[in-house]
Subunit: 207 residues, 2 copies
């Protein structure tokens, strides 16, 4: 039942809490109040308490939150205690950068395959993994249980790639192509790097 | 006065409107109602009307919005009619990917310099630009008017890089290091790629 009561806004704040608590842990902080978290993160304290209440509320009045246990709970809620298998489709600039992303293994993500459509790229090695022909992706998906498909293709191939991935049983799509993809049976995060760049342009122009 | 009345939430929706209207324009759509935009974008129609009202409201009741003129207004509001000079600090995977990002020139961003601290990287060419020693960044900033500093360093060098950039007069920071940077005199967008990956983990675990 839990997931039904958690709003999108809360879900998108969870990674921010997680990151911030990791930093606190690194700094050796053992406990923190919602007021202190609020001052550091810029969310208001009652929102923080409400957010944590969605998940059973781990704090104690007058004591605050234990950083370690909160981090432990959050990593379970976020599913970071599993290992997820990933394929990357599109070995261009961003695909290559992600394939080499050092934080993947330590955070429980394992790149199982990299695919591309271009003959000159197929067969090359990236971070120890040989780039395969995207035509072989459906068969690969039959033989390997893949959790997350990373779409790094050009715009025009993005939706088709999403279709192939979901038809092959992939339940989560992380899309870096500059167009939103859709899928009925998968959860999707469309990443638009330029959005934050546009926000900077806005501020430069309007300040 | 305009910028004072526009909330952060509106500012962060502007790039999404802009992208969506670009797609409509490519599809040859000439006008659209807030109701249709709402159905396509998943924001509610009255929010869309309110957002556009912040900027003077370009629609006409019973007619809707002209895609071309709305796009034109939005590109002016977002400051996309200017050319912005960029430097990239950190020529690792993500720095290189951004240096080669084909959309930059066509969207009005010009990469003026790439800097790194590592001897084996300094002097290499990325997309026609020679990587310079980061020790030379302060002087480079004195001699070139740079609008946006892109931080692609490891975590431990991110804040120091932010300081050097802002001391050199850079007014906007686009930070890809996995730690939030701070600056008094600059606007900052901290990009956390893994946040959206954590959201996918969450959904995979809780669905």
């Amino acid at each position: 039942m839990r997931e039904r009561t958690v709003s999108e806004a809360v879900i998108h704040r969870l990674p921010k809490y997680y990151r911030h608590l990791q930093e606190l842990q690194e700094r050796g902080v053992e406990r923190i109040s919602s007021g202190e978290l609020s001052a550091e993160m810029g969310f208001n304290a009652s929102q923080i308490r409400q957010d944590f209440n969605c998940f059973g509320g781990f704090g104690q009045q007058g004591y605050g939150y234990r950083v370690n246990s909160l981090l432990h709970e959050l990593s379970q809620i976020l599913g970071l205690t599993h290992v997820y298998n990933i394929v990357i489709v599109g070995a261009g600039n961003i695909g290559k950068a992600l394939a080499r992303y050092a934080a993947f293994p330590q955070e429980g993500y394992e790149v199982k395959g990299i695919f591309d459509i271009r003959e000159e790229v197929i067969g090359r090695e990236i971070n120890g993994i040989t780039v395969q022909n995207v035509a072989d992706l459906p068969e690969f998906l039959q033989q390997n249980q893949i959790d997350i498909g990373v779409i790094c293709t050009p715009k025009d191939n993005a939706q088709k790639t999403a279709d192939v991935l979901t038809q092959g049983g992939v339940r989560a799509l992380w899309n870096f192509a500059p167009i939103d993809v859709e899928a009925e049976k998968a959860c999707i995060e469309n990443v638009h790097l330029s959005d934050s760049l546009y926000v900077l342009s806005y501020r430069l122009t309007n300040s």
